[in-house]
């Protein structure tokens, strides 16, 4: 175990938490156990303990089972797993937030596009209407097609029925059927059930 630098030069001072961060917890536990077993701890300057056992005074062998337990679930492992879990959760949260932001942005863009397209549709319908007004039709018939108002009417009865009048624009008199959205797939339902993806 590392000692606090300079600790031996002055009066006894408490250890600074975190100064030994490079040393694993499991090692410290081992050292303490070893220290207790020998009853000798290397003194530091002014009698302060360094907490480090001398190489020649190795700890006795641990009771059977201790070493096995230490290898199975070491504290390092637990900490690593905990950190990994926290990191994964953090990354997931970041991904989730990022996804929400992305979808929100897309949604906003689509809404704007829809509003713009709706407006454009209304403009185009108005243009269609203005292009088919009676004055315009007459003008086109006379100037472009060279037609003139009839002088003599000649009525001939035929068997073929006259074509239906097609309203312009059609949407005004026909209500479009609402399209039913397709059923979501299982993975869409799963993604949708996750918090933040609804």
């Amino acid at each position: 175990m590392a000692a606090v630098p300079g600790a031996g030069r002055g009066p006894l001072r408490p250890r600074i938490p975190g100064a030994q961060s490079t040393v694993g917890i499991a090692d410290r536990v081992t050292d303490r156990v070893a220290g207790r077993a020998t009853g000798r701890v290397t003194p530091g300057v002014n009698g302060a303990s360094t907490g480090v056992a001398r190489p020649s005074e190795r700890a006795r062998a641990l009771p059977s089972g201790w070493g096995v337990a230490r290898r199975r679930i070491s504290n390092t492992m637990i900490v690593a797993v905990a950190m990994l879990t926290v990191a994964t959760a953090g990354i997931f949260q970041v991904l989730q937030t990022s996804r929400v932001a992305e979808v929100g942005y897309q949604l906003r863009a689509l809404q704007t596009e829809r509003e713009s397209l709706d407006a454009e549709i209304r403009l185009l319908e108005a243009q269609v209407a203005e292009s088919s007004n009676l004055e315009h039709l007459r003008e086109q018939a006379e100037s472009r097609l060279g037609m003139v108002p009839p002088v003599d009417d000649l009525s001939i009865t035929v068997d073929t029925p006259a074509p239906e009048v097609v309203p312009l624009p059609r949407r005004y008199v026909e209500i479009p059927e609402q399209e039913t959205p397709p059923e979501p797939t299982w993975w869409e339902e799963f993604i949708g059930s996750l918090p933040g993806f609804q």
Binding site: V100, A101, G104, Y105, L107, R108, A109, E115, S116, D118, A119, E120, R122, L123, E125, A126, A129, E130, S132, N133, L134, E135, D152, D153, S155, T157, A162, V165, P167, L168, P169, R170, Y172, V173, I175
Partner: protein
Amino acid sequence: MTRKRTDQLTWRHWTLTILVLASIAAVMVRLYQVQILNHEDYLEQAAVTRQGAATLPGPRGAILDATGYPLATSVDTWDVYIDRFLWRDREKALASASAFADFMGMNPGELFDMGTDADAGDVLVQRQMDYATGLELQERDLWGIRLIPSAKRIYPEGSLAGPLIGYIGRDGEGLWGVESDFNTTLQGHDGWTTMERDALGRPIAFSHQQTKEPVSGGEVQLTIDRFIQAIVEQTLSEALAQYNARSGSIIVMNPHTGEILAMASSPAVDLTQVDLNNEDLDKLVKTHAVTDLYEPGSVLKTLTTAVAIDLGLVGPESSYEDTGAVEVGGYTIRNWDLMAHGIVSVREYLQQSLNTGAVWLAEMIGADKFYDYLGKFGLGESTHVGLSGEAEGTYRTPADPDWYPVDLATNSYGQGLAVTPLQMLTAVNSIANGGILMRPYIVSKVVTPEDVRTYEPVEVRRVISEEAARTTYDLMHDVVEGQEWGHGAQVPGYEVAGKTGTTLVSIPTGYDIDSTIASFAGFIPYDDPAISVLVKIDQPSGGLNLGGQVAAPVFADLAPQIMAYLRIPPSKPMVAQP
């Protein structure tokens, strides 16, 4: 060898401590100023900058003709404002004004002055900017330039059916006509969305957002057919010019259903050039065929005759002796031609439109029954056509203290009572459709986001028997087609039923003998009438002023055009003009 440190605080410590404390104090004072003293101001500024509510326009619905063609519809536009709050940053405002002026073709100095004026509120720079231009401006992202969605009403057929369609004010409310009467249906409801904005006022995509969806206005489909309406308006306009008449109205209906296929009045407002400050605007925007009363004259003889036949008092060949005049209550009533015609049948009386014949029939009918029938024909009551300003008409009855026996006589040939042209045609329609009074209607369908309402023909009541109706209808046919010298309402290739009317214009002191109202009510084709038409020409002054001289020829001009449009072939051979 190290120098021994003392535990005493040195001047450096004190200086550092004082500086730190002073800094903290300064920060706290500023915080107090910002958070407590000027809390409200900063809160408002932050809200203005950060929170924004955008309007989601709910467009006003269209007014359609019978074929689905939009007679009035709305297109999206923008109202462009300068945000004075943001233009407090003069440097950015100057740059923005320059770019904005360049875009708008305006003077940058004027724009800058306008936008940096000390007055509160945004400055409207342009109303109803073209949608595409607005998008282009929006893409330039100019500092402090806001575009608010708005809409412009357009009329693809121009002035067609102007008084009927109506107009909307700047507040989007209908001012008259269908725009006003169906304002609630047509009006869309704007939605809104609140969102956080960045410093430039642009919406932040993933900020907290609340939205209320806009609701589009409903569509109102009229029974008016724009092709027939155009024919009618054109014919009316030409007739007024030809006969030098002051005004006029023409209505075209389906006599079987009560559908109004066209309804025109002249003079009328031009929807493309509405001057809201025009003092005569209230006259131009009226649908005169619904709002104005007139004395129908001899057209009403058809009703008198129908009543007498329905009561079984006379038949087509029943006769009376016409002496040219008849005394009623001390008044002498004469024929329009001031002549005596001797023994005259009901058929002949109607053909020659003799007042004495109508008086003869009315006296046989009796006052109570006569007025009872007038009520059944819908005179004196609203037709419930659904247009505002409809007049109900008026006539006196024996129950009124100022009724005199002569009223029955004059009423029998259409004088001394007032009706609207629509009332008159609706009443006459019942003769052509087998005796049933059909309610006139002008709206056939209303489509809203919630539902579709379709208006069906409504039978108000049976007025006369089917036989009486058929007999009277045949007599009306003889009026037009059964005269040796012809009739002004005859249409080559078709058979017509109808009746003319001429009445003097009533003035406060009585009648103006120099002014007439010429009218004609007719049906075509006679076998199975597809349309009924009422032509009313007010005060023709070109030498011709009788119904047969003025209104009947207008019908004759109008009817074949409508027949061609409706693809109803002639029923008799047409002879080519040499």
